[in-house]
Amino acid sequence: MSDNHSSVSEGQSRHHKVEGPRKHIVAFVMSLALTLIAFAAVASGEINTQFTYIILVCMAIMQVFVQLAFWMHMKDRGHAFPIIGIAFGVIVVFTMVIMASYWVWW
């Protein structure tokens, strides 16, 4: 508290530790790895269709979480409303997809 005014730059650098490029590069490498696994699963052509689907969906969902959390700063503080906003969209989408698939397939 006492150095609140005297050392703004120190406060900044403390914050910058959190905002360093490393976690973004980690997020990038993770995205890259997940993408490569997905493409490799299909390109190899040796895994059966059902299992490939499962791999693909898992890789996609993981990559989306990685990107939302790190690149779109969702894991940072003060992101409650953004999460509500995007979650609302996702809920509507799931309702829509379930409705559409029910309508088409059953």
């Binding site: 995205s31 493409f39 299909v42 689907y53 693909l56 989306v64 990107q67 003060g78 969209g89 989408v93």
Partner: protein, 206 residues
């Protein structure tokens, strides 16, 4: 006590969150992205429902070429990384570096668009047109909508670069950069689902 409360404007390491207007802009943009999720979600559900209705046209597994899709995926992923670096440069107040990363973002975005245009032209020459089948219509609508978003992003970020050159990095221009980066990542997130659901799953379903 949060870093947002500092009144020193650009001295803040997060200039996009200094003003109430900036914070509201970011929140409003997230609500917009919620709506965008719905837009793409409905296009995806239409595509998933119609993807086997190929009529007389080519099937997905005959049409798609993994190397092209992989190249497009890599371009967009790198582009997304460039815009992460742009925001980080902005947080360090390195305007020149920020502009450099933004230019890289735009160039990669243009590369992606070029690849997509070539891809679509090839498909059309192979008899996969907008009106060939329910599959082709839903394919072009979904992937084309994503492409249109990339095109808009390229235009938007280009204009932002010009505005930064003219007005500099201020508490007014910073939120725009931040929000455009969020938009660009969102476009990449949508592409993750496109290459998974449209291309890879289409390639698997023989």
């Amino acid at each position: 006590m949060s870093a947002h409360q500092h009144a020193e404007g650009l001295m803040s390491h997060e200039p996009e969150k200094v003003t109430m207007e900036g914070r509201n802009k970011i929140l409003g943009f997230w609500l917009f992205l919620g709506a965008e999720t719905v837009l793409f979600g409905t296009l995806f559900s239409a595509f998933v429902a119609l993807r086997h209705n190929v009529g007389d046209g080519p099937k997905a597994s005959e049409l798609f070429e993994l190397p092209t899709v992989f190249a497009a995926t890599m371009i967009l992923l790198f582009s997304s990384l460039m815009s992460v670096f742009a925001v980080q440069a902005m947080h360090r107040h390195q305007v020149k570096a920020m502009i450099g990363w933004l230019v890289a973002t735009v160039v990669l975005g243009l590369g992606f668009l070029g690849l997509e245009i070539t891809e679509f032209t090839t498909y059309v020459s192979e008899g996969h047109k907008m009106n060939t089948s329910a599959f082709s219509s839903s394919f072009y609508t979904l992937v084309g909508f994503h492409g249109a978003h990339v095109a808009f992003g390229v235009l938007w970020i280009t204009l932002l670069i010009l505005q930064i050159l003219k007005k500099g990095l201020t508490v007014v221009t910073a939120p725009k950069i931040y929000v455009s980066a969020i938009y660009w990542h969102f476009i990449d997130v949508v592409w993750v689902f496109i290459f998974t659901v449209v291309y890879l799953m289409g390639k698997v379903a023989a």
